[in-house]
């Protein structure tokens, strides 16, 4: 260990002597690690956001949405097929189902005082019942005001109330959405995710009048189960029931359905996010490998430049393993410095994205940097450094002392 410490010192001096070249080599690794950290932190952030929403959906709920499970994200992101009136009736008929809440949402422009901003509006059907279910089972609560009782009354999320408009919105104020005047009956406490907090909630009938969506339909449905009913049993019941109506409507343009328990929802999003992460790591790894080739290149040059030094060290008793160690340590240091630099830059970018998201309500990205990410980046960059340095180091170690000393003579 003693001698390794000395080799470390020598390696560090060598790096310092070739400052500019070392810096450029380190930069190659920095870029790779920076990519890994910033992209991974974004996808981790996405995971956190989605998980929060899943939690907000609650454990005892089942979600029904049009579209097969395989293209669940397409329907969630872009909408598309709707649940028809018959579908919702079919869900209600299934055993173990207590209540069915249909809901749709869309982005829109809202005006408060003299300011117009982008928000999301969401309609629930049946409105009164939804409010009961949501407040009792989903933990909706009012920060101020009261629950709406008339069609022109709405609930708004924390984000709309406090952040989106330059003036804070108080309960009882007037807002204009899609040209229609609304009274803000109540302001909800935070629902746990920014998306939910950026919505204006209203009666589905009003929503559909405003958006032109067909009455009686809904983009999604949340199913509240009867006391003691098993999630998976009810899921099958709903599927059977939907299947029957579907057969009756054969020939018309009927979409697929997905009946998803909260458990299943977690699995699906988990799988998709895992794929995203693998892809990200793949791309960023390419960047790191390129950085690694930079290290190899720089180390080969360094071996050539220092051939005589290698000869001297061998003459005064350095074994091949000592020379190998010195050069490997050098490459490893370059790698780990690149890793540290990349982690720092990546974290800074992640913070900037977070900050931008906070001041910009329609920008939904948040980032999360977990310790394993940092450890992974550092270990990875160090290994790449050592790997890239291996061949130059071996070439250096294999030099015959007499040949190495004769160099430049």
């Amino acid at each position: 260990m003693e001698d390794q410490r000395e080799y470390f010192k020598i390696a560090l001096r060598n790096i310092r002597t070739r400052r500019l070249r070392s810096f450029l080599t380190v930069l190659g690794i920095i870029i790779g690690v920076f990519l890994i950290i910033s992209l991974l932190s974004l996808s981790e952030g996405l995971k956190t956001t989605i998980n929060k929403q899943l939690q907000a959906m609650g454990g005892e709920m089942i979600m029904v949405m049009p579209g097969g499970e395989e293209d669940i994200f397409t329907s969630m992101m872009f909408g598309g097929a709707k649940l028809q009136k018959q579908d919702i009736e079919a869900i209600k008929k299934a055993k173990g189902v207590d209540k069915v809440l249909g809901f749709s949402y869309t982005g829109t422009i809202a005006r408060y005082k003299d300011e117009s901003k982008q928000i999301a509006m969401c309609g629930y059907d049946p409105w009164k019942e939804s409010l009961d279910v949501l407040s009792i089972f989903q933990g909706w609560s009012l920060a101020e005001g009261r629950w709406p009782s008339k069609g022109n009354q709405i609930l708004i999320g924390q984000y709309i109330a406090n952040e989106i408009f330059s003036k804070k919105i108080k309960a009882g104020s007037e807002m204009v959405i899609k040209g229609k005047k609304f009274e803000v009956a109540g302001i909800l406490n935070s629902l746990g995710s920014k998306q939910d907090d950026s919505m204006a909630y209203m009666d589905m009938k009003v929503y559909q009048n405003l958006t032109g969506e067909k009455q009686g339909t809904a983009a999604y449905a949340i199913v509240k189960l009867k006391e003691g009913a098993d999630e998976n049993v009810v899921k099958t019941e709903i599927e059977d029931s939907l299947e029957k109506t579907r057969k009756r409507r054969a020939g018309t343009d009927v979409a697929d359905f997905s009946v998803i328990t909260s458990e299943k929802m977690g699995e699906i999003t988990g799988t998709i996010l895992d794929i995203i992460q693998v892809v990200i790591i793949g791309f960023a790894s390419i960047a790191i490998v390129v950085g690694g080739i930079g290290i190899t290149n720089s180390m080969f040059t360094s071996v050539r430049e220092r051939t005589k030094e290698i000869g001297i060290m061998k003459a005064i008793g350095a074994k091949n393993s000592a020379i190998l160690s010195i050069f490997l340590i050098e490459a490893g240091i370059v790698g780990i410095f690149g890793g540290i630099g990349g982690v720092l830059l990546g974290s800074i970018l992640a913070k900037v994205i977070d900050y931008y998201g906070q001041i910009n309500p329609t920008f939904y990205f948040t980032t999360t940097i977990s310790p394993w990410m940092i450890v992974f980046a550092l270990v990875f960059s160090f290994s790449i450094g050592c790997l890239a340095g291996f061949f130059p180091a071996r070439a250096a170690a294999k030099l015959k002392p007499v040949d190495a000393l004769r160099k430049y003579e």
């Binding site: 003693e2 000395e6 020598i10 060598n14 003459a315 005064i316 008793g317 007499v402």
Partner: protein, 244 residues
């Protein structure tokens, strides 16, 4: 007495394209412990090749080389490195200090390779540097020193592991005559006081005169061995002309 270095019918043949060049031709040599030997010869005579083989830096093409009775041609790279570091100390014409580390660290380096603990090697290196009169230059980089000072650091480095043999390749070749003389005095002193074997390669008769025995090399073979008694002839410039 068993010779510390023994060469038996050593050949070194370099392959230059299609032609072969024999730098050493069946050379045999014995150097006893505690001897002070100068190897002389014109450039291209094979003296550097001989020095490399004596110094275990190179293997002969044919023949046997014994260092302390051990056949080095049968040793692995690592064993050889270990032996070099322990038994031999090198002083080069070009000083060959590592430029990135200071004088003290340069002197400590051979001890690192012999796994001497840090404090011990630091203490030893400081002592040797003091001995060569460089106690005030210890933390200077080699580039900040004069040629003579650098060569003294190189000597200190050669002494670091307390080797039995010091091999000096034209140690004064890059120095003015006064500094050169000082360096030779150091080497002689080391030889006399500590009884170390000294092998100096030179083409300068004044330097060779410090030795007790002079080996002349020509075309890869030993032409003449002068003993201490004969070398007196070479003491002055006029005498060189008269020398046989």
């Amino acid at each position: 007495m068993e010779p510390i270095i023994k060469l038996e019918n050593v050949w070194k043949i370099y392959q230059l394209g299609k032609t072969e060049l024999a730098a050493l031709r069946g050379l045999s040599l014995e150097i006893n412990p505690g001897a002070f030997v100068a190897i002389m010869g014109a450039s291209g005579s094979g003296k550097s090749t001989l020095l490399n083989i004596i110094g275990c830096l190179d293997f002969p093409t044919k023949g046997k080389v014994y260092l302390k009775g051990e056949d080095i041609t049968k040793m692995s790279e690592s064993q050889l490195a270990q032996l070099r570091g322990k038994v031999l100390g090198f002083v080069f014409q070009e000083f060959n200090l590592l430029p990135n580390i200071n004088c003290l660290e340069n002197v400590m380096l051979p001890m690192v390779f012999q796994r001497v603990p840090f404090l011990e090697r630091k203490e030893k290196a400081e002592k040797i540097l003091k001995m060569v009169g460089l106690e005030k230059r210890m933390i200077h980089q080699p580039a900040e020193l004069s040629g003579g000072e650098r060569q003294r650091v190189a000597m200190a480095r050669a002494f670091a592991n307390n080797p039995e043999v010091i091999i000096a390749d034209e140690p004064t070749g890059n120095l003015d005559s006064t500094t050169g003389k000082m360096i030779m005095e150091f080497l002689k002193d080391f030889h006399i006081k500590q009884g170390k074997t000294m092998i100096v390669v030179t083409h300068d008769p004044n330097i060779a005169n410090y030795a007790e025995e002079i080996i002349n090399i020509k075309d890869g073979q030993i032409t003449k061995n002068h003993l201490a008694a004969e070398k007196v002839l070479w003491k002055t410039k006029e005498n060189i002309l008269k020398s046989p």
